[in-house]
Symmetry: D2
Subunit: 351 residues, 4 copies
């Protein structure tokens, strides 16, 4: 009954089985093994293009390393003010880039827009040594508000960026959730829309600890390889990272897991509509729900053993509820019932 | 029949089983889980002292993060010229420290000595802003030459360093191999000898990917925590790193694995003494053998399917042979026989 | 007739003379000379306290080096969104700190307030490794809006910061202008109010290129010395930096120069009040004026040969006018007359 | 009577006069002034090629900034083990490059050789992510041993480097001294021999504090401009740096000053040959002499008021004697006489 985050979850049984299977005999170290090559081959097929893929173990590593290949140390990286890279990585991108500047921008429902970026870039004093220089844009898909960028929105942002020679990165910690919500192909919302590098997340959607940095713009590849090693993110026994990713991609497991997480979020959101006083802060377009509830309902849920975060402060009544590949429908049903019951009690007391 | 390195090996079955067992239900993220706490408790018991332990996934991460807490960016870190941090981490310590200087020193059989350090430090111009300032010493245990520092050697080095206010780090990627070779207690060759931080390796000795940075000097702890997060080395699903370490320590598995690896190395070394022309470069005090063989013997071994590295260049006849927790005695026996047979052929041809 | 900035100005004749005088015979290098010691002695007297002073040649060097001693790389530095360190130094503080985060805050007339900082700090998640940690506050005195912090305002900010263990830095590129406007003692608006380090500017107020980093919190001194050298900001022929500062402080030259600059600004501001359509964006409390003029007046001034910046964009009608130690009253008078004439023409046309 | 270094010296009167002359009226800041352009034009003429020139104030800044444009953070920079960048800049290059590795190489009389570099580079494991990658070579001209690289030596080194795609930097703190000793054209020992960037020193040869980074490979220019600003090495009142360089180049002042310094060194060296027990460590090919003297002679010289450094330690009898543009012949004569007298006394005592 834990809705805190999709990182409190288990690994999918298929991924555990793959790890066990990979654990036989000697295998070349540092990514020179067949499993690592197979992951890259599968990603090429899935994304319908040539690419290079580098497994790493955490999202912060994926994002920071990717961004560090896209900007000089005097560069500016544009991101939404709620972006994980800006808020939750303790300055990881700044560390990896040697002090580049994250420019945090506001935006409804966790999204940047092309118009906003066009405006900001027009005032960025290109070529002046006194000011950091526009270098990259990073989008989160699905966003930190549980919404998903449409292909057209991404393409429009990429086009604005291209006019200034910017690279485009996508933090896809919940990429599978956005993809299955949108019902599009992986290519459509990445390289075809102008994305140069993707942090392709698996950890939150069923792996133990595995992400792939997918590089569509291969000019950025060599630099990435050296930076990954130098930062201690090149695993010696790489096959065990790759085994997770291989199983994640095999037979569409990644999509199946994301569909389940999204379905649970949808089920939860619909149930919550029936809770008196519930107000949704954002549309539900992936596996996260942001809902404001009466304080009594919140206390009741906690008393009933449910776990979740109050968003933006312990004194706030906006909740973030996250579902995942292993969320049980029974828990969702129980959550809704508990919320309804306690909200009703509140109303009775008021009445 | 792969003697290339202990990083081409499998994970121990006990560790796989522990991972499977840990994969049940939700668990708090980022190290706030019971398994992570249990690992620290076990390490306290094993090292017979209070300490803090931070799991990470690679040796480069462990070493670089540890060193970055021990030196300002204008500091000098003293290490053996063959040290992994100096040679094989693509400048990881320089990256993490913001450009501190690794001072590479020579030394017989992969070891630094207290006398040598005393001499170097005496000439280090303490307090002069023109020169980097002595900040830390890092020792590799077991060394890159397959030898092991005695407790007295470490304590003597630590004492010299202490005179200059230096921190002492130990790269223990093969700590268990040294420990079981020496037959001492973990405390004796670490904090009791003056070690402030230990990169406690598990990956090479039976884990999938897990190391613990063990901090004896707790003043360095808070800095470590922030640096780990910022570098992307804090795992969200930490329990799966900790599960590996927990099983590694449980019931002395780590010692059992190391004893096996060492026994295989000893067996191999003794067998090789019977090979005509074999010359050992270093005493065998852990799980690595450095032996010079006739070129014909080397080619014969390769033809027979054995894998290993020629050390210091493809045109060299010095081999590094590494054994591990999963080395099969039959492979060792076969290796010796093959080497003997081909060396004898060589002699016949010469005769 | 150049009102662009106080960095387009000459050096004061007294400072040129001092340079000539210092240019005799050999002198110890790197600050081991008598002039450098004398500058420090004079600053101790002026600030009525013990302190250490480090001459450097640019304001960006002074600010970046100072801030780098006040924060770990995972720290947050709070500053006004218009601060030179945030906007005009191409990420200098981020470079010097290894990627710390400048948190830009809004604030009327270029100032931060204690209440605002208290609010921001209360939400800063102290101790959480996921977020950068509050480390320092930097104030600009006089501000980028040409206003001056009162001693009480600084002390209130310092007190809030102290509650969180923050250091307080002051960017005093125009310190003398603020000081003479306020009519207080140097001590009152620095260490007595809680300032730990001051970038004490001389370049804009009559030097060729000289600033002194004045360190009141002497625990930060040693680090500063190494960082300055390592960054190439320790001059070998230091006496020529120190000679400038020595003459700057001698007989109150720095105060005389600042008083003149301020008087010219005041004269200019009063004259501009008579210009039809003139609107002041900020009170004039140092040597900068921010005034909105009719476009016709601006074009007329340009045609008459006056130089200045349109603030915030070439299509804007807000002007920044800066006076300095060598501004001629006749130029001020001519500027006012030109502005009035052209503004009147505009009105006639409209009428 | 100070032979400690050429940085204890005065500025040439011509340079002081130029500073005074430049100190008139307003001038555009940050290098947009006519003097800065004129310096670049003069350098183009002197070096007989197109180039870009960036004034900075210290040699450490010039060297570190130049090297930071020539290497990624995972690069190796090859230098002589006595090089200023390796020994005397407190890790400046490591700071500016984000932790690149200086590879210190031995070499007779302060010089690297093409053969040695070819050998080192052949063993550098190009393309392997485990090791830092060859990126640049830096030569000191004149060397730290007071010798000068011949054009052919430089060209041979450059050719070896080019085979690996390396950049070539020259630390020319004493460039004028080498140039006038060699009697060649500036082009011959720089870009025609393969040098990409030159730290063109003026401080040691008659300026107050001025160096020009001369960039022959213009692809490196933009990066340099941003790095200089970000590091606080872009002067606002740039005309006063440029005025020094302009006067330095005007009418061959730089060559005249260097010729004088070299002549004084030659005069001193010849005189010292007559001192009993004097042994020269290196040929005298610029303005530095390394001579071993009897301890009694050294003590006598000190007692007579001469200043100089014992090289490599206070207990050593090898002296470094440096002459400069303002060394007086009378001081040289007196030094020789004093040395002879005290050395003779020593001999008498021995006899």
């Amino acid at each position: 009954m834990n809705f805190c985050s999709d990182n409190v979850t288990t690994a999918a049984p298929e991924i555990l089985a793959a790890l066990a299977k990979a654990n036989a005999g000697a295998s070349a170290a540092y990514g020179e093994d067949p499993l690592t090559r197979r992951v890259e081959a599968k990603l090429k097929e899935i994304f319908e293009t040539d690419l290079m893929a580098f497994p790493v173990a955490t999202g912060t590593a994926a994002n920071s390393l990717a961004l560090s290949c896209m900007t000089p140390s005097w560069g500016a990286i544009y991101c939404h003010e709620s972006a994980h890279v800006a808020v939750d990585e303790c300055g990881g991108p700044e560390f990896y880039t040697g002090g580049a500047k994250l420019v945090d921008l506001p935006g409804e429902h966790g999204k940047l827009t092309a118009a906003q970026l066009a405006d900001v870039l027009a005032r960025s004093d290109i070529g002046s040594v006194h000011h950091v220089q526009p270098a990259a844009i990073t989008l989160t898909q699905a966003t930190e508000a549980g919404t998903s960028y449409r292909a057209g929105e991404i393409a429009a942002i990429a086009e604005v960026g291209r006019g200034y020679g910017l690279h485009l990165h996508m933090d896809g910690a919940r990429f599978a959730n956005a993809l299955t919500f949108l019902g599009v192909s992986p290519a459509e919302i990445t390289w075809r829309a102008g994305v140069d590098m993707l942090s392709f997340g698996a950890t939150k959607n069923g792996a133990f600890a595995a992400e792939a940095v997918v590089i569509f713009d291969k000019k950025l590849t060599q630099e990435f390889a050296f930076r990954r090693k130098r930062a201690g993110h090149l695993f010696s026994k790489m096959r065990f990272l790759s085994a997770q990713l291989d199983a994640y991609l095999e037979g569409g497991l990644w999509l199946k897991n994301a569909r389940h997480a999204n379905a649970m979020a949808k089920r939860l959101a619909e149930g919550m509509k029936g809770v008196p006083g519930a107000k949704f802060a954002h549309p539900v377009e992936a596996n996260e729900i942001f809902v404001d509830l009466p304080e009594t309902a919140i206390r009741g849920l906690i008393a009933d053993g449910f776990k979740f975060y109050r968003w933006l402060g312990e004194d706030k009544t906006l909740l973030r509820l996250v579902t995942a590949h292993d969320t049980k429908e029974a828990d969702v049903v129980a959550f809704i019932a508990s919320a309804k019951r306690h909200a009703a009690e509140a109303n009775e007391r008021v009445a």
